[in-house]
Amino acid sequence: MRRLVSGNEACAEAALRAGIRFFGGYPITPSTEIAELMAEELPRVGGVFIQMEDEIASIMAIIGASAAGVPSMTATSGPGFSLMQEGIGYAAMTEVAVVVVNVMRGGPATGLPTKGSQADFQQARWGTHGDHPVVALTPRGVQECFTLTLRAVEISQRLRVPVILLMDEFIGHMREIVSFPEKVEVYHRQKPRVAPSEYIHYAPDNNYNAPYASFGEGYAIHFSGLNHRSDGFPINDAPTIRWNNERLRAKIEDNLAYLEDNYVDDDPDADTLIVAFGSAARSAYEAKLLTDKPIAYIRALTVWPFPDATVRRLAKGRKRVVVPEMNEGQLAREVERCIGTDTELVSVTRNDGSMLTPKEVLEALR
C-alpha cells in the first residue's frame, strides 16, 4: 500500500509493525510527532506509552521495559540525545536491546530546534563515555525512515544492543510516498534453552540471535552498569575486564557483514568518489546525476560501524573523494581515515540549518 506520510509518521508506523510495544519519551522538536503517534496507537495494540519526566528517565524506562522482555523505543532530538548518553552506555554495557531515534536538529545547546542537521553523527559514535562500538543507521528519505526503523528494531533484538536511528528534521517533517509492505517479518528474541541453574546471562558465544532471559522468567540475572563477568557480577580484575570489552567489540565486529548496508553506484571511469549519508546524500546524488562527468557514489545506510573497507576499496586509485554533509566535516574525518594520502579529500559542508543543495555539491565536482 502506498501512502503520503512524513518521516516521523513512517518511523512510528514501522516501530509498531516491528513489534515495539513500549515507548518512553519526552516532547522535543522535531521528534514530538513520533511520541504523539505512539501515545495514540500503542494502547490500541496492547502496548504501553509512558511520557517520562525527561530524557534521562525516557531511556532508562525503555531499558527497564526491554530487560523485562518488551521491545522498546524512544525518540528525541539534540538536547534530549545528549541527556540520553549515559543511558546509551548503560544499555551497551548491560546488553539491552533498545532503539533510540534521534531526529537531528542544529546544535550545540538549544541550537536550531526547527531546523535540520547531521551534526550528531560523531556524537552517536562517541557521545557516551567509555570505549565500545555502537550501531547507527541513517535514512535518506521517508521510505527509509520506515525500512530502517524496522531494521533498527531487528538489529537491537538480534545483537541485544542499543541501536541509534539518525533521522533529521528535514526527513522527519518531509512528506513522501511510502510503499508499506503487506507483511513485515519480525525477529523475536530467543528464550534460554537451559535450566535456570545453568543459565549464564552473558554467555561467551551468544553474540548473534542470542537466547537470553528477561526479568521475571525465573532466571537469576545480575544487572549492573559496572564492568562484569559472564553472570553479570561486578569485577575489577584485568583479564575479565578485557574479556568483557572484547565481547562488546566482537558483537559488532563479528557481524559486520550483517550490519553493513550501503547504496553503491560505482563507475569504473570515475576519478571522483562521493561519500555521503542521510538527507545530504539526496543532494549529493542529484549532483552526480546533473554532472556529465563519471562519478562513483557510496551512501552509507549503516553509518556505525563505519564501512571502512568498502570506502577504502572504492576510493582506491581515485583522484579525489568528495564528502558532502550538514555539519562541520564529521564524515570527512572518517573518510580521511580510510583513504590513502594519494587521494584528495574534498569536504563540502553546510551547517546553517538549511539543506545542502545539489548546486553546492556540483561546484565541488567541477
Binding site: I28, T32, E36, E40, P43, F49, E53, T110
Partner: protein, 310 residues
C-alpha cells in the same frame, strides 16, 4: 505594596511586540511580575519553553531586564550560579548594587525535567525568586501532558478516547513539594487576581532566601477556549477551588481568597475543549471524581491553614 498608579509609572520589564498568542496568560503574568520587581536591577533566567521562544525571536527581544536562556532543566541552576557569584563579588566589595534574581520556567521545565535543579537551588538557599508559569502541559511543542496536567485533560500524549479518559493520573502538587523544602516564601497565584500576584512578588523578593510562586496561566490554544476568556478562566479557577491562591511563610499557610460560595467545578471545565469529552453522557462519574478531588484538596488546605495558625 505598590498601587496600580505607581505600577503604571514603572518601566516595563517585558514589553509588547512579542509573539505570544492573543490571550496568553503567561506573558501577562511575567509582565506583572517584572513590574512588581520594580526598578531595582533585576537579572532573570528562563528555560526553554513558550515564553522563551515567543519573547526572543531574533533580532528582537521583549525583555528590558537581563535574561539568560538555558536548556529545559536549567533555569534554577543557572540563576543559582549567578546569585552565588554575585554574593561572592559583593562580599569582596567588587559590586555595590542590590540585584534581584528571578528564574522562570513553565510547568514542563519546573514540575518535570527541572524539578531537580529547582529543589537543589532552594535547598542551597540561594536568594532568588523562582516563578513557574503553569499552563498545565507542554504547550511549546504542541500540547503534551506534563505532571501539572490535571486528571482527565485531553492532550496529544494523553488522548481522550476509549482506552483513557484523557490524562489518567492526577496532577502533582508542586507547591506543596516546594513548601516541604521550607523556602523563605512560597505561594500560588494567577494573573486574574493581579494585585494579589503583585503583592506576592514583592513579598517573595523581600524574603531572605529562596522563594517560589506557582502561577496558573490559562493557555488559549492548549486549553481551547475563546481568547477573550483568559482572565475569566483565571478567576474561575480560583472561584471553583480548582486553583486555590494561598501563601506559605515561616511555617504558616494563608489562603488569600476563600469563595463564600464556591462555584461548581464544571463552570471552569465546560469552557475548555480539553475537558469537552467529560460533558458527554456516561462521563458523569468523572466529573464527580474531579469535583470530589478539588473539594478534598481544599479541605486539606483549610486544615493546614488552621493547624499552622492556631
Amino acid at each position: 505594596m505598590a498601587s496600580l498608579k505607581e505600577l503604571s509609572k514603572r518601566t516595563e520589564g517585558l514589553v509588547g511586540g512579542h509573539r505570544a498568542c492573543a490571550g496568553c496568560a503567561a506573558s501577562t503574568a511575567i509582565r506583572q511580575i517584572l513590574l512588581a520587581a520594580g526598578d531595582k536591577p533585576t537579572v532573570t533566567g528562563i528555560c526553554t519553553g513558550c515564553m522563551e521562544v515567543v519573547t526572543t525571536i531574533f533580532p528582537y527581544t521583549a525583555w528590558n531586564v537581563n535574561l539568560v536562556h538555558n536548556a529545559f532543566e536549567n533555569s534554577a541552576a543557572t540563576v543559582s550560579g549567578m546569585e552565588a557569584a554575585y554574593r561572592a563579588l559583593k562580599r569582596k566589595g567588587k559590586i555595590d548594587a542590590e540585584i534581584q534574581f528571578i528564574a522562570f520556567g513553565g510547568d514542563g521545565g519546573t514540575y518535570d525535567i527541572g524539578l531537580q535543579s529547582l529543589s537543589g537551588a532552594i535547598e542551597r538557599r540561594h536568594k532568588m525568586l523562582y516563578v513557574c508559569y503553569d499552563n498545565e502541559a507542554y504547550m511549546n511543542t504542541g500540547y503534551q501532558r506534563s505532571s501539572a496536567t490535571p486528571y482527565c485533560a485531553h492532550t496529544t500524549t494523553s488522548p481522550a478516547g476509549t482506552k483513557i479518559p484523557g490524562k489518567p493520573q492526577k496532577r502533582k502538587d508542586l507547591t506543596e513539594i516546594i513548601i516541604a523544602h521550607e523556602p523563605a516564601y512560597a505561594a500560588q497565584a494567577t494573573p486574574g487576581y493581579y494585585m494579589d500576584l503583585i503583592r506576592k512578588v514583592e513579598k517573595a523578593l523581600a524574603a531572605d532566601g529562596p522563594s517560589f510562586i506557582n502561577v496558573l496561566s490559562p493557555c488559549v490554544p492548549g486549553w481551547g477556549y475563546p481568547l477573550d476568556q483568559t482572565m475569566n478562566i483565571s478567576k474561575l479557577a480560583v472561584e471553583t477551588l480548582f486553583w486555590p491562591i494561598y501563601e506559605w511563610q515561616d511555617g504558616k499557610y494563608k489562603i488569600n481568597i476563600k469563595p463564600r460560595e464556591p462555584k461548581p467545578l464544571v463552570d471552569f471545565l465546560k469552557l475548555q475543549a480539553r475537558f469537552r469529552h467529560l460533558l458527554k453522557p456516561g462521563n458523569e462519574h468523572l466529573l464527580e471524581e474531579l469535583q470530589a478531588e478539588v473539594n478534598r484538596r481544599w479541605e486539606v488546605l483549610l486544615r493546614k491553614e488552621q493547624a499552622t495558625n492556631g
